[in-house]
């Protein structure tokens, strides 16, 4: 029990460090809210335009805004994990962190929970602003929104941990993956269109990815007002697999970095 308490204290210590960092840096705070809000405004207008003008095209009320906000949950979640780790590299602090009692799995849990907080704040503000701007509240999706949010957070964790593992292995040359890797999933997980428009072979790949079930489920919820429990279950099971693989990848990368003497050179 005491070990669990000590472990939690160390995880909260990392939270405290990032809270101090955010509190003393308005550009970091602004960045957290800026992009989700700007994008929400753009997709809101697009949604309005298509709803009013595009005959024969079905765009449910707020469909594009909801799709964007949920996509941003995925994007911010993986970015939150990566950036929290990169902050330690930028400040050349990893040497001290890794000789402290902080265990790798505690560092992982810190990164994941920081990502949830950053995502919740950044996307939450954009979602809230969509109400006065466009009269659309994503919160009307009810408990299904929580299920969508969690599934996208989980997949974001998996991508973020994979990126961090790559950076541990290949150094900061792999940093750009934090901004680029997630976008490979945008066209194939049906963020803005049903995956039925994809070629059949690509659809097989799509159904292996948890976000596909979220976005298909979102369309079903907005279009037909039904929650597809099967989709949510598939997404959750797949996420468990992806997060487990990504966490294992991180621990393998950490072990390899110790063997190769890379822990003090990650920033180079």
């Amino acid at each position: 029990m005491d070990q669990v308490k000590q472990s939690l204290l160390r995880i909260f210590a990392i939270h405290r460090r990032h809270y101090y960092l955010m509190r003393g840096s308005w550009p970091r705070i602004a960045e957290m809210f800026y992009w989700p809000t700007v994008q929400m405004v753009m997709w809101g207008f697009m949604n309005q335009y298509l709803t009013q003008r595009a005959e024969g095209v079905y765009i449910g009320a707020g469909m594009l805004i909801a799709a964007f906000l949920l996509w941003d949950v995925l994007f911010r979640s993986q970015l939150g994990v990566s950036l929290a780790f990169f902050e330690e590299i930028y400040s050349r602090n990893l040497g001290y962190l890794f000789v402290s009692p902080l265990r790798p799995q505690e560092l992982v849990l810190s990164l994941l929970s920081i990502a949830v907080l950053r995502t919740g704040l950044g996307v939450g503000v954009a979602a809230w602003l969509a109400i006065p701007f466009y009269g659309f509240s994503i919160f009307d999706l009810g408990w299904a929104l929580v299920a969508f949010f969690c599934n996208l957070i989980f997949f974001g964790w998996a991508i973020g941990l994979a990126v961090v593992s790559m950076v541990m292995r290949y150094g900061m040359g792999a940093e750009s993956l934090a901004w680029a890797l997630v976008f490979v999933f945008a066209p194939i997980t049906g963020v803005y269109y049903p995956i039925s428009v994809l070629p059949q072979w690509l659809q097989y790949i799509s159904w292996c990815l948890p976000p596909t079930y979220v976005f298909e489920g979102l369309r079903e919820l907005i279009g037909m007002h039904t929650v597809n429990m099967m989709f949510l279950s598939y997404a959750l099971v797949l996420n468990l697999v992806y997060v487990a693989i990504a966490a294992a990848l991180f621990l393998v990368a950490f072990r390899a970095a110790r063997q190769r003497g890379l822990l003090l050179q990650i920033g180079e």
Partner: protein, 250 residues
């Protein structure tokens, strides 16, 4: 309590085609102040990194404070600490925030009191609200020392502790470290290129050359053995005596 604070037993570290440490065995007594000397590429950084668990040895055994550093690393880490001018603390955090963060990370009880005490002892009270990144090199070194003393370590590993300090501050630091050792019976293990500092502070000197221990003794014994007046002359004798046995890597 185990008699040895540090024990290397036939430790080897190979990186693909390079042997950085080629079979090192030595031990450091509890309460000793020991120095690790060696030219560039002698294997000092690799040895210190293995001691701290940042690098795993290819073979051999490292015991720290009586525990196997490979298998019981997380039992040992709360009892040791590390300071180096080449590792930084978060730049954007204030001195006080940095120390508070690390105090929590080490599970220090009465953290506030400990932080205030170290700030006072290391003459940092006037900069405690300033960001670490805005400090001079000397102030940063003192903050790093304060960080490394938060957990009252039984073993303090120092990598060139006075490298960027003016003579006055360096002298103060050496006095402070020796006082800490005397009051806590702590063990200090430091890598240094400052031979005067090593002569003044250390009970034991380990000289590395090309990944091996070239010599190990008290400073006075080394001076006598090599018939030299200063440790720097001894160091040069060892460094220039032979060609390296193996290609070293740090």
């Amino acid at each position: 309590m185990c008699a040895k604070a540090i024990e290397f037993q036939d430790v080897v570290k190979r990186y693909e085609h390079v042997t950085a440490v080629a079979g090192v065995s030595f031990s450091i007594e509890y309460g000793a102040v020991a120095a690790l000397l060696g030219g560039n590429g002698a294997g000092k950084t690799t040895l210190l990194s293995m001691l701290l668990g940042l690098v795993t040895p290819t073979q051999g055994k490292i015991n720290v404070l009586g525990s196997d550093m490979l298998r019981q690393r997380y039992q040992v880490l709360p009892k040791i600490s590390f300071m180096s001018p080449y590792v930084e603390l978060p730049f954007r955090l204030t001195v006080e925030q940095n120390l508070t963060f690390y105090a929590q990370l080490y599970g220090v009880s009465r953290a506030r009191k400990m932080v205030d005490r170290l700030l006072a002892e290391l003459d940092l009270l006037h900069v405690k609200k300033r960001t670490y990144g805005s400090l001079s090199a000397g102030q940063r070194t003192r903050v790093a020392l304060a960080k490394s003393l938060l957990n009252s370590p039984e073993l303090l590993v120092l990598d060139e502790p006075t490298a960027s300090l003016d003579p006055d501050t360096a002298d103060y630091m050496r006095g402070y470290l020796l006082n800490y050792r005397n009051e806590n019976n702590a063990t200090l293990f430091m890598a240094s290129h400052n031979m005067v500092e090593v002569e003044r502070m250390c009970d034991q000197v380990v000289i590395l050359k090309a990944g091996r221990v070239a010599d190990i003794a008290a400073p006075a014994a080394l001076l006598g053995k090599y018939g030299r007046g200063t440790l720097e002359q001894v160091f040069l004798d060892v460094a220039r005596h032979d060609q390296p046995l193996v290609k070293a890597h740090e």
